[in-house]
Symmetry: C2
Subunit: 285 residues, 2 copies
C-alpha cells in the first residue's frame, strides 16, 4: 500500500511534503533563458535536489500548470515522471470530483499515462460516486487518495462547518465517510489508502478530527508557512505517531525569490529549518 | 453578459446543451484512421455541425480529454477554439474548486490561453474563496460560471442533502450563496453570470430550487437522456421562461455507436428529437 510507503518515508525523513506549485516568477536566473516548459522543469529538479533529504513526498498543484495551457501541462507531465523515476512519492493536487463515469476518466488520467501520480487529492461534494472510481487503482496499481475534509482557506467555514441537526459539522460527516470507505484498503501501518486533507484551525477541531481519524485516516495538512499554521498545532494534529504529512509550497519553493545567492542553497536551508521545526514540535508532545 | 447571450440562444434554438464528452469509442468509422487527437477533433466538428440548429451551447467535459493525457488535451484545446471561432458558447465542465491563490490559476487557465472557454463549472465545497477569483473575468472578459448545487448522481444525497439545524439542506445553502454572489453580475435578462448545476430529482426539490433561484440563477441541468431525467420534470425546473439549459451528452453524441448509416444523420435526428421533446414539455406548462 502506498500509504505504508509514505508512512515509512515520514519516519526516514520528516513529515514535510514539498508543494511544487511553481509559478514562472519562481524560475531562478540561471533557467530564465529556457522555454517556460524547460524553465519550470529545471526549477522543479533543483527544488527536489535541495529538499530530498527532508521531503517525505511531493505535492504538485496542477492548477499552476493548467494556467499555462498545453506548455504548462507538458512541464507538469515531465515533473511527475522525474519524481516517479526517482522513486519519490507524488501527490497530484487535482481536487477533482464528478459523477462516476467522469471520475473514471479522471482516475485513468491521473493514475496512468502522461499524468500518472501515486496519489491524488479529491473533492467529496458529490458523495461516494466521485471517489469510488479510484478504488480499483488502490489495490491493483498501488495508488491512494486524499479527500478534502477541512480546508485551510478563510472561507472554509462557508459550507464545511455547517452543522446538521445533531450539531455535527459537514467536515466531520465527510471524515467519517472516508474512514468507512478506507476499511477495504488498510495498510500494514494501520492507515488506509484514503487519507484526508485537513487544515489546522482551532484546537477544538484538531481534537475532534484526531478522535474521528483514529489512526486510520492519514492526513495531508496544508497551511504551514505562508498560510500561517503553527508547528505546535500541526504537531497536535498529526500526533507523536506522525499520521500525516505537512505541505509547504511557497514557504520553500519561493524562498529564493528576490534574494541574492544560490537559489538551491536558500531553498535547502529553508526546507531544513521547516522540517526541523516540525520534528522538534512533534518531539515536544 | 454571457448569460444574456445564452438566454438569447435558448430562445433562438432550444434549451439543449450538447455535452461533448467524447470517448475514443465514439469516433465514427470515417475518422478511425486519424490520430486520437484528430479523430476526436473531427468527431466534435461533425457533432457540432449536426446539432447546431438546436444547441444553445456546448459543454465540454475535460475529464474525457485529461484521461488521454497531453494528446487528449490538445484535442480539447482545438475543440474549444473551433467552437469559440464559430461564436458558439462553450461551457468548460471542469468542476474545479481550490483556495483563492490556486483558483486564480484555474481562472487564468480556463478563461484565457489554450483552454479558453466562455463559462466554467465550479465546485463550492471550500466556500466563496474557491469561486470569487473568477469574478474579475465576468465583467472584464464576458465570462460566467455554473456552481454545483444539486447533482444528478446516485450519491448526491451523501452530503448535498444533509440538513442543518433549521432543516435546510446543504444544496439550498449553496444556492442561496450563489444568488447573493450573483447580485454584482446581473445581466439584462435578469439572470446573473453565476448559474447553478441542478439535477432533477424529486418534485419537492424542484419547487424549492425554483423558489430560491427566483429568476436570478440560470440553471445547467444534467441528466436528460442517459441519466434518466424526464422532459416533464425538467420543464418544471427551468419553467416557461426557460431559465436554464439542459445537457445531453451520451444520449446524442453516442447515438450512432453500433448503428449502420451516417453518424451525422443519426446524431442530428436524435438532437432534433430531444430538443423537440424539451420544447414540447415546456409548451405544455
Amino acid at each position: 500500500m502506498i500509504v505504508d510507503e509514505l508512512y515509512e518515508k515520514v519516519r526516514q525523513r520528516s513529515p514535510l511534503c514539498v508543494g511544487l506549485d511553481l509559478r514562472t516568477g519562481y524560475i531562478p536566473t540561471e533557467f530564465q533563458n529556457f522555454s517556460i516548459e524547460d524553465g519550470l522543469f529545471e526549477t522543479a529538479k533543483m527544488i527536489v535536489d535541495a529538499t530530498i533529504q527532508n521531503a517525505a513526498c511531493y505535492k504538485v498543484q496542477i492548477a499552476c500548470y493548467e494556467a499555462l495551457g498545453l506548455e504548462g501541462l507538458r512541464a507538469y507531465a515531465k515533473i511527475l515522471k522525474y519524481l516517479r523515476d526517482n522513486d519519490e512519492i507524488v501527490i497530484a493536487d487535482i481536487k477533482r470530483g464528478d459523477i462516476a463515469s467522469t471520475a473514471e476518466e479522471y482516475a485513468k488520467g491521473h493514475f496512468s499515462g502522461d499524468f500518472e501520480a501515486d496519489m491524488a487529492t479529491l473533492n467529496p461534494y458529490m458523495g461516494v460516486d466521485a471517489i469510488s472510481p479510484y478504488f480499483p487503482y488502490f489495490k491493483d496499481k498501488n495508488k491512494g487518495a486524499f479527500v478534502l475534509v477541512k480546508t485551510s482557506n478563510p472561507s472554509s467555514d462557508d459550507f464545511e462547518e455547517i452543522e446538521d441537526k445533531n450539531g455535527k459539522p459537514l467536515y466531520i460527516s465527510v471524515l467519517e465517510a472516508i474512514k468507512n470507505w478506507g476499511e477495504d484498503f488498510l495498510g500494514n501501518s494501520g492507515y488506509s489508502a484514503i487519507g484526508a486533507v485537513v487544515g489546522v484551525n482551532h484546537l477544538k477541531q484538531i481534537i475532534h478530527i484526531r478522535e474521528v481519524a483514529d489512526g486510520r485516516v492519514f492526513l495531508l495538512v496544508p497551511g504551514f508557512g505562508a498560510q500561517g499554521a503553527k508547528a505546535e498545532d500541526i504537531a497536535q494534529l498529526i500526533g507523536q505517531e506522525q499520521g500525516g504529512v505537512v505541505n509547504v509550497s511557497r514557504g520553500i519553493i519561493a524562498a529564493h525569490v528576490g534574494k541574492e545567492g544560490s537559489a538551491k542553497d536558500i531553498i535547502k536551508a529553508k526546507a531544513d529549518a521547516m522540517a526541523k521545526e516540525l520534528t522538534d514540535a512533534i518531539g515536544k508532545l
